[in-house]
Structures are given as structure tokens and as C-alpha cells.
């Protein structure tokens, strides 16, 4: 008999094979996510190419301090997530839970900063439509449409990530993970790092164009 662990689903021969399949499944999902966000990045590229001046003028109104702070928060949350996976591999029950909770707190911190930023953006009349500020060219609304939809979709992914990591924390607190079985933490980590990568590109594209001009 191969393994008799209850964590091994019946279609798999052994744990490493099951883990390999789960990792590939997550990467398949992430490939669809690359194209999902990719369509919006493409919309950004095309419209920035068509309206370069309007995009430069519009992006001067993004709040760089909040954007930079949030980039640092997400990069740090990727570290704590990687350390949570490492603790799971090593079977260190106490630190799996601690690092998962650190990651959740950083993710919530990201959303709080984003909330303050959205409030300031709305006060500055940067929501596209009839009440959009009048000192910017019309096409600046395309930039701000992309800003709200791209950061909004990203924030939705952060919220889903908080849900997934919370589920992992709950499982960890019940001692579900061991060096032989920690695939859910590993796969949740892949998702979380992907959310971080999306932000790594949103940051320069939304906050840093024409800062010097």
C-alpha cells in the first residue's frame, strides 16, 4: 500500500503527486488570472498610447504616499506568507498560525490605507462622470476609469485572499497541517503572491508616470 493518510485523495498514488497536481491546478487558475487582469493592462496600454498628455495630467492626482505605503505593506505580507508556508513545511504549528495572522493583518492594513485613499480621491472629484473635475482634459476620465476598475478588482482579490488565509489559519489552529500535508497553505500562498505581483505593476503605472514633469 502507498500512504494511508486521510489527507490523500483516492485518485492519487502518493502525497507528492497530489501536491504536484494541486500546484499545477493553481498555476492554471493563475494563468487565467494573468489574462483577466491582462485585458485591463492592455486597455491601459492602448489608451495611454492614444492619450499620453491626458494620462500624464490625470496620474498627477493619484496619492503617491498611499500607493508607496501600500506597496511596502503588500511586499511585507508576501514575506510573512512565504514564512507561513515554510513553517508549514517544517511542521512548526505555532509559527504557521502566527505568520498567517500577520499576513491577514497586513492585508487588512492595505485595505484600510486604500479606503482612506479612495475617500480622498472622491473628495478630489476623480470619479469619472458628470461630476468629474473640470480642470483635467476629458480623456483623463479614461485614466481614472482604469484606476477605479483595476484597483477595485485588485482590492476584491485582496478581500478573497483574506478569506482564504483566514480559512488556512482556522485549519492551522486545529492542527490540520504537517510536513507531509500542507498543500492548502502552499497553494493559498501562490494566490497571495500573485495578488502582490499585480500590485507591483499597478504601482508604477498608476502612481509614477510623469511625477518629474
Amino acid at each position: 500500500m502507498p500512504e494511508t493518510s486521510s489527507a490523500l485523495a483516492e485518485q492519487f498514488e502518493e502525497m507528492p503527486q497530489q501536491q504536484e497536481a494541486a500546484t499545477l491546478g493553481m498555476w492554471t487558475f493563475l494563468a487565467t488570472e494573468i489574462l483577466f487582469f491582462g485585458a485591463m493592462f492592455l486597455g491601459y496600454i492602448v489608451n495611454r498610447h492614444l492619450h499620453p498628455q491626458a494620462f500624464a495630467a490625470a496620474s498627477e492626482h493619484t496619492i503617491v504616499l498611499f500607493g508607496t505605503l501600500n506597496t511596502a505593506i503588500l511586499l511585507t505580507s508576501s514575506l510573512t506568507m512565504a514564512l507561513a508556508v515554510r513553517a508549514a513545511q517544517a511542521g512548526d504549528q505555532k509559527w504557521i498560525l502566527r505568520f498567517l495572522i500577520f499576513t491577514i493583518l497586513l492585508a487588512v492594513g492595505f485595505l484600510i490605507v486604500k479606503g482612506f485613499e479612495y475617500r480622498d480621491d472622491l473628495r478630489e472629484q476623480l470619479w469619472p462622470g458628470p461630476h468629474f473635475r473640470t480642470d483635467l482634459p476629458r480623456e483623463a476620465q479614461i485614466f481614472w476609469f482604469l484606476y477605479w476598475s483595476m484597483t477595485g478588482l485588485h482590492a476584491l482579490h485582496v478581500i478573497i485572499g483574506i478569506g482564504l488565509i483566514s480559512a488556512m489559519a482556522w485549519m492551522a489552529s486545529r492542527g490540520k497541517f504537517s510536513p507531509a500535508y500542507h498543500t492548502p497553505v502552499e497553494v493559498t500562498g501562490l494566490y497571495w503572491h500573485f495578488v502582490d505581483i499585480v500590485w507591483i505593476f499597478l504601482y508604477p503605472l498608476l502612481y509614477l508616470i510623469h511625477r518629474s514633469a
Binding site: I45, R86, L205
Partner: protein, 91 residues
């Protein structure tokens, strides 16, 4: 696969990511014309590779995982390439 990576490696990668963040912010304060975008994207791609290779364990993954990772980015590149071959050649 996935032999545990040393804690020190993860912390060094995190420090490198924060240094690259500071660098991308600093470069954006200097007017380099069109090169501002080139530098910003080059730094973003460098950060992406650090996250992919180390935090996401692609470096120590099997070749089949590499194929799946590359496939996602390849199709994204095809989408951008075909679209821009239209927009960049309109006169």
C-alpha cells in the same frame, strides 16, 4: 521538490524588494523622458521575478510547472503584441 528555503533567503529577497521599491520611487522624481517608463517597468519586472522564483518556489519547481507559468505570460504577451501591431501602425 520544495525543500524548505532558508529563512535568511526570504528576508534577503524581501529587503531587495523594498530597495527596488525605493529605487523606482526615486527614479520617478527625475525626468528621464520616455526612459522613466522603461526604468519603472524594468524594476517592476525584476520585482516580479524575485517573487516568482523565490516566494512562489518556481526556481525549485519541476519543469512542468515552468511550462504552466510561462504559458500564462506567453498568451498575455501574444494578446498585447497583436493588439499593438494594430494601434502602433495606424497613421
Amino acid at each position: 521538490m520544495n525543500a524548505p528555503v532558508a529563512k535568511k533567503t526570504y528576508i534577503l529577497i524581501w529587503l531587495a524588494l523594498l530597495i527596488l521599491l525605493a529605487l523606482t520611487w526615486l527614479v520617478a522624481q527625475v525626468n528621464l523622458g520616455p526612459f522613466n517608463t522603461v526604468v519603472a517597468l524594468a524594476i517592476a519586472i525584476a520585482k516580479m521575478f524575485l517573487v516568482l522564483l523565490f516566494f512562489m518556489h518556481v526556481r525549485s519547481s519541476r519543469r512542468i510547472t515552468w511550462i504552466f507559468v510561462i504559458a500564462g505570460f506567453l498568451w498575455f504577451a501574444i494578446m498585447i503584441d497583436l493588439t499593438l501591431s494594430d494601434y502602433l501602425t495606424r497613421y
